[in-house]
């Protein structure tokens, strides 16, 4: 059993990254705690969400957590699946203040839940193992479940490690009832945790405070003593702590034992004003620790704003993502180019594609830019419809996409550092709307 729980290093997915499309150093790996799985199931590294469980074909597995909405509930109750082949035609009225019963947009192409979230069916005779069990769907078929939650794959995922159907950054109270990838427990010493951000998987203390390293430290030894250690608390290892994998322990001159990750002694910044604050990174020479960092396209820039640091285009204009979930009982997405664009067109252009293009222009890819791994890619978009188009279609635009969804700038931002479209949308854009691409924010809820 001890061997079973040993550190497992994750292979780097998609090793070849296209020329001119990624900026940061080589991707690092993330360890997890192995556990028994159904035959053929495996763990795949995902670029932003860390290791995720996948089926025998390598497709990421998702659950649909039961969720209380403003008016009513949705999602899967334990041991059941509410995702069926029913094609809903009317809104559910789950979100205040509007009533339900409104005919949903683009019914002719609207899918059923199982069209976009195929249940992960279990073969005849499948046996429960560990956290994995088998539930019976209403149509009598058997479906795999993890920790009691019915499992699905996403039609948006194409390659092992893709997490295009849904991700793990914290959802707001008024977000749609989104699907989440399921994942094994990260293999970390006690007292630490890892969280998903747009910049990557960040290492935190178990209470949620950011973990830092210092550029001044050398060869695994801490140079932060005296007054420095009053501001930057060395993260002490317990007497029972042991080195393994990326983790080591160094004896400090004051007699304390300090955790070291990948050769860097670890600290907490005592002046950080709230959990997950990154204020310490404003001090020159101090860095937050990312277990795995998301590379950004080289042609992008980083800009300071009054609320933090954002990713920006080559001209310095803030980049925005667009998120959307509809108000049907099955809470389908509406932010991917393969899905309805009615909500986005309404928000960005009052229903006019032409105005959308003026208000929220796509971030065009430079001529030499190509896809840059599973998170950032260059896609071809028909600007009139907002859907994918062939690369040679008339009027097609080559635009940058994050997680397969185009990103935008806002014409209402006069210059670098402006974020006027941050949280512009329904329910502060939690339901449908634009979010600035925060790399670092001083405001507690924005980044996660």
């Amino acid at each position: 059993m001890r061997a079973l729980r040993r550190l497992v290093l994750v292979a780097i997915a998609g090793a070849a990254l296209a020329q001119g499309s990624v900026g940061l150093a080589a991707e690092r790996t993330e360890a997890w705690i192995p556990e028994p799985m159904p035959p053929g199931f495996r763990v795949e590294p995902s670029p932003m969400d860390g290791p995720v469980f996948a089926n025998a074909a390598g497709r990421t597995l998702y659950r649909w957590p039961f969720r209380v909405m403003r008016n009513g509930v949705t999602g899967d109750a334990r041991g059941e699946s509410a995702c069926t082949g029913v094609k809903y035609t009317e809104s559910a009225g789950l979100m205040s203040p509007y009533p339900g019963g409104l005919v949903l947009p683009e019914l002719d192409t609207r899918p059923a839940c199982t069209d976009v979230w195929p249940p992960e069916l279990a073969p005849a005779g499948a046996e429960p193992i560990g956290n994995w069990s088998v539930i019976t769907r209403k149509d009598g078929r058997q479906q795999w479940a993890y920790d009691g939650a019915a499992l699905y794959t996403s039609v948006l995922d194409r390659r092992p490690g893709d997490v295009l159907g849904g991700d793990k950054p914290e959802q707001g109270f008024d977000s749609p009832a989104v699907r989440e990838p399921i994942a094994p427990e990260p293999d970390l010493p006690p007292g630490f945790m890892v969280n998903t951000t747009l910049r990557g998987r960040i290492l935190l203390t178990e209470r949620g405070f950011t973990v830092y390293t210092s550029d001044a430290d050398r060869r695994g030894r801490s140079r932060c003593i005296g007054a420095c250690a009053q501001e930057w608390q060395p993260l002490a290892a317990p007497a029972s702590g042991r080195a393994r994998g990326d983790w080591h322990i160094v004896d400090r001159t004051d007699g304390e034992r300090q955790w070291v990750f990948r050769g860097r002694p670890l600290y907490r910044h005592l002046a950080d004003t709230h959990v997950r604050s990154l204020e310490g990174t404003d001090v020159p020479g101090w860095n937050a620790v990312y277990v795995r960092e998301v590379p950004q396209p080289r042609e992008f820039t980083v800009q300071q704003t009054p609320a933090g640091v954002v990713l920006a285009d080559a001209q310095g204009k803030t980049i925005y993502t667009y998120t959307c979930g509809d108000d049907a009982p099955d809470q389908l997405g509406c932010d991917h180019p393969s899905q309805t664009q009615a909500y986005r067109m309404g928000l960005c252009g009052g229903g006019s594609a032409e105005r959308c293009l003026k208000n929220f222009p796509y971030v065009l890819a430079a001529g030499s830019s190509r896809s840059g791994g599973p998170l950032w890619s260059v896609v071809s978009i028909d600007p009139r419809s907002g859907h994918f188009a062939g690369p040679d279609a008339p009027g097609v635009l080559r635009v940058w996409a994050f997680r397969d969804r185009p990103v935008y700038t806002f014409a209402g931002d006069p210059g670098p550092g402006d974020t006027n479209a941050e949280s512009l949308g329904e329910f502060q854009s939690e339901r449908t709307g634009y979010k600035a691409f925060w790399l670092h924010t001083d405001v507690a809820r924005v980044e996660f």
């Binding site: 203040p97 947009p105 009615a342 909500y343 309404g346 209402g412 924010t441």
Partner: protein, 394 residues
């Protein structure tokens, strides 16, 4: 390349170097400097318990408007022609007429400042009897429950977030002060602080004596410097165009006021009073529509599209050079500041921050504007509101 400091920076640097020390008498701050951190803020308007300023009653909100437009009579309607369309009306507001009654706050009394030195027909009389008060925002918001005192939902939360959220940490620092009662020349600096406010054991009441660092990292744009004078214990400043942070529920947001001036009653532990000026309409509206979704608007019967139309209709300043239409509206913020000690920044770092300061241009709205004709609605003839709309107040 660094720019040379502006001439007005020099006295401010002196102020910085002077620092703050405990007062040696209640009226004379030691070192000639005292600072206050903003701990309460709301729109100044008349809100009497009986709503005498709203003789036509209070406004209906977006939920009620939706029911008027789309009554529950068994008609099957599309999402796009109803819910999505009303959301579009909020995010792409126009000045088109709408079939709803908008009830404005009325006079003769409303708090505020005399911004133009003229006693015009639209002006109010202040609660303490001063005439010529310019506060068209009272007309816009005075009869909308969300904004009325003492506890309209939006008013309550926006006020609470001033204390709770560091993004909103506005500080006013006075320099060259001989007396908190009378001094005909003081230097005033507004900046953003970086720290939490010192509060009492209950956690909701600010107490004096806390400390604040000056936000030179990301707060340079908020720094303003101006002259002022103190008379009878009241600080009055010259007008400046003021950018100020007002984050609500952790969604960062700013507001902009033209020709803003402070009128604060000073005490050693607190400063209370008004910040008056001309509110940039598009910036104000962006703050509102980003932070207060239709759901929250429904808490206290406000309607974003209707408020926008009222603001544009009642705007009284900053005419657009192209259209001639006013882009700003007179108003005032009721404020409470609490004494705080400033951890002075390095003067060189402060000067460097000023070189990065961008006097932000107000937000100008969605560049591709919607045609007002797209927002035309007709209420069903059977709806009683039709009659009310036809007899609307303006």
């Amino acid at each position: 390349m660094k720019h040379p400091p502006p001439p007005r920076l020099l006295p401010m640097l002196g102020l910085l170097l002077a620092g703050f020390a405990h007062a040696d008498s209640p009226d004379r701050p030691t070192g000639g400097s005292i600072a206050y951190v903003l701990t309460n803020m709301s729109w100044a308007m008349q809100s009497t318990p009986g709503a005498a300023e709203c003789p036509k009653g209070l406004n209906e909100g977006t939920r009620e408007q939706f029911k008027q437009l789309f009554p529950d009579n068994g008609t099957k309607r599309s999402f796009e022609s109803t819910q999505l369309r009303r959301e579009i009306d909020g995010f792409h507001p126009t000045i088109a007429a709408e079939p709803f009654v908008y009830r404005e706050g009325e006079g003769p009394v409303a708090p505020g400042l005399d911004l133009d030195g003229i006693a015009g027909p639209e002006d109010f009389r202040s609660p303490d009897g001063h005439g010529g008060i310019d506060n068209q925002m009272h007309r816009v918001l005075g009869c909308t429950a969300n904004y009325r005192g003492p506890d309209g939902p939006i008013r309550f939360f926006e006020d609470e977030m001033v204390l709770r959220e560091n993004y909103n940490r506005v500080v006013v620092q006075l320099g060259g002060v001989d007396s908190l009662k009378d001094d005909d020349a003081v230097e005033v600096r507004i900046f953003r602080g970086r720290d939490k406010v010192l509060v009492d054991a209950g956690g909701l009441k600010a107490v004096p004596g806390g400390t604040q660092r000056v936000d030179l990292r990301r707060g340079a744009n908020y720094i303003r410097e101006m002259h002022g004078r103190i008379s009878g214990g009241v600080l009055r400043t010259e007008p400046v165009d003021l950018l100020y942070p007002w984050d609500v529920f952790y969604f960062p947001s700013d507001q902009y006021m033209y020709k803003a001036r402070l009128e604060l009653t000073l005490a050693p532990t607190a400063a209370t009073g008004l910040i008056g000026g001309y509110v940039d309409i598009e910036t104000w509206y962006l703050h509102m529509i980003r932070n207060w979704s239709t759901h929250y608007q429904s808490y206290g019967n406000s309607s974003a599209p209707s408020i926008y139309k009222a603001m544009r209709r009642l705007a009284d300043a900053e005419p657009d050079s192209q259209t001639g239409r006013n882009r700003a509206i007179s108003g005032a913020l009721a404020t409470v500041f609490t004494q705080v000690n400033i951890i002075e920044p390095d003067p060189a770092e402060y000067a460097e921050a000023l070189t990065r300061r961008r006097i932000a241009a107000p937000y100008r709205g969605m560049p591709a504007e919607r045609d007002p004709a797209e927002e035309q609605f007709e209420l069903p003839a059977s709806t009683p509101a039709v009659a009310a709309a036809n007899g609307g107040s303006r």
